[in-house]
């Protein structure tokens, strides 16, 4: 449902030549491009949109949780491609980097290693139907409002004031983020700190019995602190005859040790 919503919204913005990046929505001039490229763009959009909606549906319906997680990966990938069509270059690649490359890895870790049996979880599935229908209706209404309204977002600066689209996306984003949106940015930093602390306090069970070797201490160890060589007289003098060779050999070993 969320994916469908996203597709509809994005398609709507895209068709009206509105593009999303950085701090706002930017009107885009496409008159210079020939209509063929635009057609190709639409074909690519419909392919990715179809795959996105299908895979989002599969996330909910497939039985195997690992398959569901992988379909979610596919869904993220397709929405990244659709964002690219909207010129949101940086956001699209960061979507792949953060969601596909990091968040979904955690999902897979959890799903694979917990090895959950989902059958008991599915028993009350139909009971959630009214709530689901309500949310679906809500979203449909929101979609309809967006599609039918002329003012997508009121209070936006006029399109002409915006920089041209071909300029480096990331750089513009950086300039906006670190001038206009500085305060929210610092708050994001604080939220990430909270996330670190929360993750550690939730998962660290014990203060981990430390038996880790410390290489930095191991290297500085001197022989003298560990081994002491003592010269000792043997208790009884070695007998001559068959045991002579043995004692000679062991003495030779000792001399070798001392000369090291």
């Amino acid at each position: 449902m969320v994916a469908l919503y996203q597709v509809m919204a994005i398609y709507h913005f895209g068709r009206r030549g509105v593009c999303l990046y950085g701090g706002g929505y930017v009107e885009q001039e496409r008159k210079t491009k020939n209509w063929k490229l635009k057609m190709l763009e639409q074909v690519v959009f419909y392919i990715f949109g179809a795959v996105l909606v299908t895979s989002a549906g599969m996330v909910v319906t497939v039985r195997n949780p690992v398959h569901a997680a992988l379909f979610l990966v596919l869904a993220f990938f397709c929405s990244a491609a659709i964002w690219l069509l909207l010129q949101a270059e940086f956001l699209a690649i960061v979507l792949v980097l953060v969601y596909v490359g990091a968040v979904m890895v955690l999902f897979l870790f959890v799903v694979m290693m917990l090895n959950i049996n989902l059958a008991p979880l599915r028993e009350g599935f139909a009971g959630f139907l009214p709530v689901g229908l309500f949310v679906a209706a809500l979203m449909l209404t929101a979609m309809g409002l967006i599609v039918s309204s002329d003012h997508v977002l009121p209070g936006l600066p006029p399109a002409a004031a915006q920089p041209p689209i071909d300029a480096a996306n990331t750089e513009l984003l950086g300039k906006t983020l670190f001038t206009e949106y500085l305060y929210p940015f610092e708050i994001a930093g604080a939220i990430l700190l909270v996330a670190i602390i929360a993750a550690i306090s939730l998962t660290m069970r014990k203060p981990a019995a430390q038996r880790t070797p410390k290489p930095e201490k191991q290297v500085v160890v001197k022989r003298d602190t560990r081994v002491r060589l003592v010269n000792m007289e043997s208790a009884s003098p070695p007998e001559k005859g068959d045991s002579g060779g043995l004692s000679q050999r062991s003495q030779g070993g000792k001399q070798g040790d001392n000369s090291d």
């Binding site: 190709l40 690992v66 940086f90 690649i93 980097l97 596909v100 490359g101 990091a102 890895v105 990331t170």
Partner: protein, 372 residues
């Protein structure tokens, strides 16, 4: 030079064919797609040949380092040419081996896993600039794209380990996932340092911002980052001494223990393509890419050709880093798992964070000769 070649292929071979075959109105699409395919093949075929002969070079070089001979028998037409036929014989042998799919395995994911591991490692090559103009997709966010694609490499490993339904495979997959994840952070911060120094995400612009002389290359102002990046690259590709994911003496072959024949060689191909990619990227980001090391030197810099930028310099630099990969494998014993995690989180991460501050300070203060 190369763009003339591609133009000639397009105008001389592709355009007439397209004019005959393609449906009316779609000529430009067909021509564009075919032209892109030709360019992709121009990257892929040399790349796959390099992968093939990198395996040969690995065995020969490690053999020499360990006072052995290495493969020297298989040649062409009854002649042994230093064993140069060996990789081709290996490939043919692997082609005719049985692909076993274990009964307990998840069949679909078992087949998808090698594909997921090879596709990103090849597609990352789309943004690598081989020359001033020779790049398939000259995108603005090139470096970001590379980072995103390398972060996808972990999927092939995890899925292979899980789908095999074998304990060794699962252990290897989990180990390597945690390891890749740890080094990716260090790698990401290292790339941020390069970005601060270059001021652009486009790989071509990163190279041109290093021009001047060998001292203008980023290895000097980013010396610790240079080392961190290359070592993280070795760890990301699961190569020795960080190869606990394969660890043949402990968990046999790790995540691909159940794979045989061509299915195994797809993983193998992905690993070697990644090795070459890391080497190229190190050359591009820290060693001036296609720039000549003799540029700007008093006497030798005046000689034509030798001081000019060329794709040959990039290839030479890449080979040097590839040699380092092999040298590492011949020299270092395998790290213990806790040591690997310690190195990634407790050594590399602090180094990169400190160096971000240093290099950003240098850029803001416009320290010559790099950032003036």
């Amino acid at each position: 030079m190369f763009e003339y070649l591609f133009d000639a292929i397009r105008d001389g071979i592709l355009a007439p064919v397209v004019a005959m075959v393609a449906p009316a109105g779609y000529e430009s699409y067909t021509l564009y797609t075919l032209e892109t395919l030709v360019k992709i093949l121009a990257i892929l075929i040399p790349l796959l040949l390099s992968v093939l002969y990198l395996t040969y070079a690995e065995r020969r070089i490690i053999g020499l380092i360990q006072c052995r001979i290495g493969p020297n028998r298989v040649g062409f037409f009854g002649r042994r040419v230093w064993g140069l036929g060996q990789p081709i014989a290996d490939a043919v042998k692997l082609l005719f081996k049985e692909i076993i799919i274990p009964t307990g395995a998840n069949k679909r994911l078992f087949i998808i896993a090698p594909l997921l591991s090879v596709a990103p490692s090849l597609a990352a090559w789309a943004v690598v600039p081989f020359d001033d103009t020779l790049v398939l997709a000259d995108i603005n966010a090139g470096l970001l794209y590379i980072l995103a694609l390398t972060s996808l490499a972990v999927y092939g490993v995890i899925i292979a380990g899980w789908a095999s339904n074998s304990k060794y495979a699962f252990l290897g997959a989990m180990r390597s996932a945690a390891q890749i994840v740890a080094y990716e952070i260090a790698m990401g911060f290292a790339l941020v340092c390069v970005l601060i120094a270059a001021g652009s995400l486009n790989l071509g612009e990163i190279i041109s911002s290093q021009s001047g002389s060998i001292l203008h290359w980023f290895w000097l102002p980013l010396l610790p980052i240079f080392l961190v990046y290359f070592i993280s690259g070795v760890a990301e590709t699961n190569r020795a001494p960080f190869d606990v994911a394969e660890g043949e003496s402990e968990i046999v072959a790790g995540f691909h223990v159940e794979y045989g024949g061509m299915a195994f060689s797809i993983f193998f191909m992905a690993e070697y393509a990644n090795m070459i990619l890391i080497s190229v990227l190190t050359a591009v980001l820290f060693c001036g890419g296609w720039l000549s090391p003799f540029q700007g030197l008093p006497l030798i810099g005046a000689i034509p050709y030798i001081s000019e930028p060329s794709i040959l310099w990039l290839l030479i630099k890449t080979s040097v880093f590839l040699f380092l990969f092999l040298w590492f494998r011949a020299t270092f014993p395998r790290y213990r798992y806790d040591q690997i995690m310690r190195l990634g989180w407790k050594v590399f991460l602090p180094i990169t964070i400190v160096w971000i501050v240093v290099i950003a300070g240098m850029v803001v203060a416009r320290v010559p000769p790099w950032f003036s």
